[in-house]
Every structure is written in C-alpha cells, then in structure tokens.
C-alpha cells in the first residue's frame, strides 16, 4: 500500500501553528507519495496559503465552513472522517498540541481504528517510537497495516518543515453532518508579546521557588532582556503565580528550546518530561 498522508492543520488567530510544520516533517519520514494538509476554518485562505509553503506538502485542502469558526473536536471530526475516506488516505496525522490531543482520538474512534499518541521517531510507515510513563520509557509500537493509521506527532521531536514549498490549494466542500451539541463560548488568551513558549529558541521558567506572582516579574524582565519565552512548573501554576498556558511538563507543554533556564524549580520527573529535548539546560542550585 502506498502511503498517502493527511495532516490536520492547527492554527490560532488566523495563523498556521508551527506544530503543523512539525507534523509535516514527521510525515516526510514515512516514505509518503503524498502529504496533504487539511485546513478546516471558516475562512481558511490565509492559513492554507501558509500551509502551501511548507516543504514536502503535495496539496492543501481548504474546506471552509461557518461551523469551523472555532475549531472543536466534535464539529471537526465528521469533516475529517469524510476527507480521510474520500481521499483514501493511509495515515491521518495531527500535532500533539491540545488541539490534536482533543481531536485525533475522536477521529480514530469514528474510523474504528487504533491511534498512536506522540510519535517521536519513525521506523517505517507503521512502526514508531513513543514515550510512556512521562518519557521514562520509550516503546516501539507497530500499527496494523490493513487499516488507516491515526496518530499525533510529538512536536518537540521534529523541526518545523522549511517554508520553501509551493503546493496547490484546492478548495473542497465536505459532505458531513456537523453536530450542534457543542458550542464555543469564549477563549481567554494570555496576552503576551513574548515569543511563543512552544517555538521559542530560548525559554526561561520559574517554579514555586520564585515565591509569588510579583516575583515572577524578575523572570519576565530577564526573559525580555534576552528575548526568551517564559514557562513555569506545575507548582507555580497551582500556586496562582502564572496562568495555565505557561505550564511545562508531562501534562503541560513539551518544548525543545536551544536554551532552557529554570529558576526555583525542583525538577520533578513530570517537569523534566517537558524539556527532554531542550539543547542546553541551566539549573540554578546553591546547594553544594
């Protein structure tokens, strides 16, 4: 069977999320004869154009629908299932962002197939490595070859695909029944001019040891001085020093900056699970 891969685009505020480019990099290792990116948005032209620039992408499928104004798993799934079946794809991939984590298992269940979470290495189009136990063990898993493979890609394991491609954008309308049982209310977004935590080459993190919300200003000031993104440990989020979207770790964001500096963080295994792919890690510790 030749491999034809559908990658689901993750986006925010009209911009393609870099996680999509990372998922495309992963797809390229599965010896595909085609990698198509599916953009499900209410007005996806701009996002589709960005996806078309990714190296390795064969075609971008833009399926605009008013119901996609706010992407939600329940409303996107029937459209993805329709696209996957119409296009006879062998693989359907999404990033392991909260978007992909929420969405891909629903797609797999609707297709009646198993799913692989967090692909971190590709051995063949059906054999992969993925982390378990917060990354303290790595398993090699083989998926059945006679069914569509649905998977999420561990973005920190892959570089973003370069932006030198020029794929065709095809608009299509998908015949799918979109449920009305799930309605978007609002999104409270952290407003920050700092580099995005998940893509920043440098990240400064603070933990409970920082002591207070006020003291986090020291972390922010330092980050701004060197142009870094800011993260935090679970303890700092639980203590209310910073919002949830800054949490780095097993259940927060998994990141791979070139430089990671942490302050007031004890280094629980759940936190380390989020920074295993960081280049240089600097920990401040005054104990001898």
């Amino acid at each position: 069977m030749s491999n034809k891969i559908l990658v689901i685009a993750d986006y925010l505020n009209g911009e393609l999320n870099q996680s999509t480019a990372r998922a495309v990099s992963c797809a390229q290792q599965m010896s595909p004869h085609a990698i198509d990116v599916l953009v499900l948005c209410d007005d996806g032209a701009n996002i589709a154009a960005q996806a078309a620039q990714l190296e390795g992408v064969t075609q971008v499928l833009q399926a605009d629908n008013a119901a996609n104004q706010h992407p939600m798993a329940a409303t996107l799934t029937p459209q993805i299932v329709a696209a996957a079946q119409n296009g006879e794809y062998s693989h359907v991939l999404g990033p392991n962002t909260t978007f992909g984590k929420d969405l891909m298992p629903r797609v797999a269940a609707k297709l009646g197939v198993a799913m692989i979470t967090d692909i971190m290495a590709v051995h063949s189009a059906h054999e992969f490595d993925r982390p378990i136990y917060a990354g303290n063990a790595i398993i090699t898993v083989k998926a059945p070859e006679d069914q569509v493979l649905v998977a999420s890609v561990r973005c920190a394991s892959y570089p973003a695909a370069a932006e030198n491609g020029s794929a065709e954008v095809e608009t299509l309308s998908l015949d799918a029944e979109i449920p009305s049982h799930t309605r978007f209310v609002n999104l409270e977004q952290g407003s920050s001019d700092r580099p995005d935590l998940q893509t920043a080459p440098k990240v400064i993190s603070g933990g409970r040891g920082v002591g207070s919300e006020e003291n986090f200003k020291i972390i922010y000031d330092f980050a701004d001085k060197i142009g870094a993104g800011v993260g935090a440990s679970r303890a700092a989020v639980d203590a209310g020093y910073v919002p949830n979207d800054m949490q780095v770790g097993q259940t927060g964001k998994i990141i791979s900056p070139e430089l990671y500096m942490c302050f007031g963080i004890s280094g629980a295994i759940q936190h380390l699970a989020g920074i295993k792919d960081a280049g240089t890690i600097v920990a401040i510790n005054k104990d001898e």
Binding site: L12, F184, I281
Partner: protein, 248 residues
C-alpha cells in the same frame, strides 16, 4: 442525575519505573499501584456533585485484572455508591476500553461520564475522546471548571492558548485536568464503609464487546540519557559558557 466515572489502576506516580532487561516491558510485580491521579480528580468531581445534591448516584467502573478491585474500593471510599469491574487479564488499549465504556453507558444512561484526561502509565490521552465519539456525545477534555445547568454544562478547558469555555449538551464525556479540584484524603471510616458497597463483576463477553485491533508493542527501552552537566562557579562563568555555545 447519574454519573459514571472511570478509574484505572496504574503504577503509583511516585515510583521510579524500571525497564525489564529483556525489553519486554516495565517491571510491575511488587511495585506500588494506585488509582491514576487524573481519575482521582474525576472521582472527586463526581463526589462534589453528590454532596451538593446534583448527582443522586455515582458509579465507578474499571477494566482490568482482579487487582484492579483495589482501585474500585478506593473510589467507593471516596463515596461512590457502587462499582462495576470489567474483568480481563489481557492488556486493554483505548479503543477497546472505549467500547466497554460505551456498552456500560448504554446500560446505565448517565448524564455525565467523568474520566481522567490521561492515564500516567501509557500517557495515551485517548479513551475519553473515543468513548464520547462512539456514544455520539459531546466531549469536553482537559476540564478545569465545570458548571452544570440542567441539560447543558459550561466547561472551561485548559488548552495551549489559554482557557477555552465550551457549552455542551448532556449527556457528555468530560475529562479532568489537574486544576479541576484537589482530591480529598481518604479517611479510615470511609475505607471501612467501602468494603460493604457492591461491586458488580462483568466482562467484555458479558457486555458483548469485541476487542479492537491492537497496536503491538515491539519493545520497551530506556530513554537516551543526557550527558552529565557541568557546574559553573559564578554568573560570569555561566554567561561566558553560554556565549561560547552561541546561546546568548
């Protein structure tokens, strides 16, 4: 309303796991197991509804070997009214688990099916979403706040971009994230009382569930080790080292 809540037996989160020398898995014998921490949060949420009078009955369900009864007893000690044990000694992957949960939901007709957002052993983060897909119900994953309002619920979700709120029809599957609540400590009298509560035994066959095609685990290995770091004595030394590496 009736609430179903799933619990999974998993190696305790404090245990440093060991990989078997032959690469066939992680060492589980003689290792402390507990209820998956995210499931504890899900159970706690159900208890709060019960104590507030919103939920009349809370039923805990697990899939696993005999030993998994221990986790059902914990759920009963939290205050669940009864429990269902779907017994199997074979490994169960998320799609099969979702089929089991669908069969139980079809029978019990809960208004909310609470689950943990992921199990800390296989870190799959799939079962809740798959269950709701099979039931054709709404899903609200990674919940940090749930406001029930008759036949709908407003759920705040912790997502990468911040906090998203969805308005969903019930019945629905809701999966708990870390900050939904802080589970209580179990008290001895509650643990004693739990011993008298009923646990119904069931099986995949009883439920008419066919196992889904499995992912085959070829091998289990330790993650690559990082090289040991170096200690620097002063900020100046750190800065010059980082500059050397081109990081500053």
């Amino acid at each position: 309303m009736k609430v179903l809540v799933s619990v999974k037996r998993a190696i305790d989160y404090n245990v440093r796991i060991q990989i078997k020398p032959d690469g066939s898995g992680v060492v589980e014998n003689g290792v402390k197991h507990s209820m998956n921490p995210f499931d504890e949060i899900a159970v706690e949420q159900a208890m709060r509804w019960k104590e507030a009078g919103t939920a009349e009955e809370v039923i805990a369900v697990t899939i696993g070997p005999d030993a998994a009864k221990e986790q059902l007893r914990s759920a009963l000690a939290f205050g669940c009214d009864r429990a269902i044990h779907v017994k199997t000694d074979e490994p169960v992957q998320p799609l099969t688990a979702a089929r089991v949960f669908k069969a139980i939901a079809d029978k019990e007709q809960p208004k909310v099916f609470m689950m943990g957002k992921q199990a800390i052993d296989d870190d799959s983060n799939q079962t809740g979403q798959m269950t709701s897909a099979l039931l054709e119900w709404p899903q609200a994953t990674f919940a940090s706040e749930i406001e029930l309002d008759g036949d709908t619920a407003k759920v705040t979700r912790e997502i990468d971009a911040g906090l998203e709120t969805l308005d969903i029809d019930l019945p629905a599957v809701i999966t708990a994230d870390l900050r939904l609540n802080e589970p209580r400590y179990l008290k001895l009298p509650d643990i004693m009382k739990a011993k008298k509560k009923p646990i119904e035994d069931s099986s995949l066959d009883d439920l008419g569930v066919e196992r889904a095609a499995m992912l085959e685990t070829v091998k289990t290995a330790a993650p690559p080790q990082r090289e040991a770091g170096v200690k620097v004595e002063s900020v100046d030394e750190l800065v010059s080292k980082l500059k050397e590496k081109g990081l500053l």
